[in-house]
């Protein structure tokens, strides 16, 4: 019997089982407590890690690719939702994005110094903290079917934060390569090359995809076409050591300009998106080790407070001049809290490309990631509800 149990608890069985458990937990949480489902997914992933069932999961290339694909689908849709003309007509949003990125970077860099972290780890931490996780944001807004200024600003600032985070992080990686190996070429490859080519790859597919879509015969086929393209782009990006996340964001932004319409029913890629989202959050949770969790909680709480304060104050400051109310500006800042999924995958992707510091950085920020994984989606949901941009019964 014990042998049978051990045989059953292989990753081939354990993962689908945990995914099912995560799904059911998410449905129960939504029905009983009206909380976002993704909170439950993250908790199940953490449980998977705590039970020791996720050992070696990081080494599973297939799981990592699947997680990247899941996040790439979300980033594609986020890029699709972004209206660059709005950013030009209302430049205060661009100002807010850059300001909160710069201030967050500076604040976290300083806090890391107060906790005695090495400079390179502080740089990694600071660049990651600029990001806002699109996975949690898109799932929560989709569940609530929210609409309004807080929702619009949340999505646009999330995209800006992700873009800035990738730029800063790749810059840190390039700097690290320069410091450790002195190889300028390697430093440039891991920073400039990755950023530029990722954007070009995504944009190129955004130009080509409409031609592929003409072969589709129904609206459902449109969704499948774009999903397949995102999966292809993720595979190509990973093979060429590009950033699949940046490529997917560029793909979505260019596809929008080509005016390929995704209907309301196809948002979040329907059932495929639901399954992959559950997997993504479980995967992220499973990567977070419990060892060192307690020790990093204090750092995590301090960084969380700094991040939230910067987001709230910056958006409060530009609220009135950018056309909304102070209340909605503050709630926008509050809603920008999620971070974990994007940060973890960005770190994981760089580790695969030879960024050794990534392995050492994860335990430092595990406390922050756990806090954000569990509570940040709920905070985003509350912000949207308090803004009146979702019906209470939708929560």
């Amino acid at each position: 019997m014990p042998q049978m149990t051990a045989d059953l608890l292989t990753p081939v069985v354990a993962w689908p089982l945990m995914l099912l458990a995560a799904w059911l937990a998410g449905e129960w949480l939504a029905r009983r407590w009206h909380a976002p489902r993704v909170c439950a997914y993250g908790v199940v992933g953490l449980a998977l890690s705590g039970l020791g069932l996720s050992q070696g999961v990081a080494a599973h290339a297939a799981l990592g690719l699947l997680a990247n694909m899941a996040l790439a689908l979300t980033l594609f849709e986020l890029g699709y939702r972004i209206n660059p003309r709005w950013l030009l007509r209302n430049p205060w949003l661009l100002v807010a994005g850059v300001a909160q990125g710069a201030l967050t970077f500076a604040a976290v860099l300083w806090i890391g110094g107060q906790f005695g972290l090495a400079l390179d780890q502080r740089l990694v931490l600071a660049s990651l903290c600029v990001a806002t996780s699109p996975a949690a944001v898109m799932r929560v807004t989709h569940e609530l079917r929210s609409a309004g200024q807080v929702t619009e600003r949340l999505l646009h600032l999330c995209a800006l934060n992700c873009l800035l985070a990738v730029l800063l992080f790749k810059g840190v990686v390039g700097y690290w390569h320069l410091q450790t190996s002195g190889d300028v070429g390697k430093a440039a490859f891991n920073s400039v090359y990755v950023i530029v080519l990722s954007g070009v790859a995504g944009a190129a597919l955004g130009v080509v995809a409409p031609a592929l879509n003409r072969l589709a015969t129904s609206s459902q086929s449109t969704t499948v076409t774009f999903a397949m393209c995102v999966l292809l782009l993720t595979g190509i990006s990973q093979s060429l050591q590009l950033s699949p996340l940046l490529a997917a964001l560029a793909f979505g932004a260019v596809a929008r300009e080509r005016r390929i319409m995704l209907s309301h029913a196809q948002r979040n890629f329907g059932v495929l998106g639901d399954v992959l989202s559950a997997f993504l959050f479980v995967f992220i949770g499973s990567l977070l080790s419990w060892s060192g969790l307690l020790g990093s909680l204090l750092l995590g709480a301090a960084v969380l407070a700094a991040r939230s304060s910067v987001h709230t104050l910056v958006n409060l400051g530009i609220a009135r001049v950018s056309g909304t109310t102070f209340r909605k500006g503050a709630l926008t800042g509050m809603a920008l809290m999620p971070m974990s999924a994007f940060a973890v995958l960005l770190l994981e992707e760089s580790r695969l490309y030879g960024f050794a510091l990534a392995r050492d950085s994860l335990p430092v920020i595990v406390g922050l990631l756990v806090l954000l994984e569990v509570i940040a989606p709920w905070v985003t949901q509350r912000a949207l509800l308090w803004a009146g941009e979702a019906q209470p019964e939708d929560a």
Binding site: N83, N90, G148, Q149, H264, S322, G323, T324, G388
Partner: protein, 272 residues
């Protein structure tokens, strides 16, 4: 319940109300943006009136009272420009007219205002389902009579025109074997109807014509009533299936249209 006093308006003055759609810039589906848009436009004077409507994806604009077309048009254009500028700051698009082709009514949110919430409670989901975006053009009338009389006479004219043909068709048969029915009375009714039609064309310009039309209106109504009474009386005497059949056939024979259109004048014929 007594009606309230009719609000006097300058004759033929104009005002326009227009309901607009608020759509997103992604797939142009309806979006809940009324609160944000109204708050933004309230910061500066608005050239007209803008108010919320039943759901958060609708707004209504209204012009003032104008006497010239150019004034109405100018005010509508100013309101449009102001709203478009505001919408550009909020990542919303404006769309007008009719209904939205693919909106999901269950996603619409009722605007938080007591009147709309009351309607929503009264009609449930229907309040969201019947989301239409109409335009009303209000034309001023000097008095309640003007406001009521015109539509009634229009309807009478239309009705009289139909009854003219029917009355002639029925009259043809009835006169043939209804000796009590005065042919002059029926013709007078028809003549009154024709005169009424002519009079109503000039109603807007001719007070005397209005009085004449009023008289003719009464005559036609009276004539119709008398015709139908006699017809009913006649039918009661004709309650015999065989005689009905023969009568119907004779009526068909007599109803031959002239090459020039219209009907032959009724001819006297003996009932079977």
């Amino acid at each position: 319940m007594a009606l309230p006093p009719f609000a006097h308006s300058q004759a033929l003055s104009l005002g326009v109300e227009l309901e607009l759609q608020l759509v997103n810039t992604v797939d142009f589906d309806l979006t809940s943006g009324a609160n944000d848009l109204l708050e933004l436009v309230s910061r500066k004077p608005f050239p007209g009136t803008v108010t919320p409507e039943m759901t958060q994806s609708m707004i209504e604009i209204a012009t003032g009272i104008h006497t010239r077309h150019a004034g109405v048009l100018g005010e509508l254009q100013a309101m449009r420009d102001t709203l478009v500028t505001a919408c550009e700051r909020l990542n919303i698009d404006l769309c007008g007219g009719g209904t939205h082709p693919f909106q999901r009514w269950s996603d619409q949110r009722v605007f938080s205002k007591p009147r709309f919430e009351q309607i929503s409670q009264l009609y449930g989901y229907l309040a969201k389902q019947f989301t239409v975006f109409g335009q009303h053009v209000h034309v001023g009338c000097a008095s309640g009579d003007d406001a009521l009389f015109r539509p009634a006479l229009e309807r009478v004219r239309a009705t009289a025109a139909e009854v003219d043909v029917q009355s002639v068709a029925g009259l043809d048969q009835r006169v043939a074997h209804a000796t009590q029915l005065g042919e002059q009375r029926g013709v007078a009714g028809l003549d009154g109807g024709c005169d009424l039609d002519h009079a109503l064309r000039h109603l807007g310009r001719d007070g005397a014509g209005e009085r004449f039309a009023r008289e003719q209106f009464q005559q036609v109504v009276g004539g119709r009533r008398e015709i139908e009474v006699h017809g009913a009386d006649e039918l009661q005497f004709e309650f015999n299936a065989e005689r009905q059949r023969i009568r119907f056939a004779e009526g068909l024979q007599r109803h031959v249209r002239s090459p020039r259109g219209g009907l032959h004048p009724p001819t006297a014929a003996r009932a079977a």
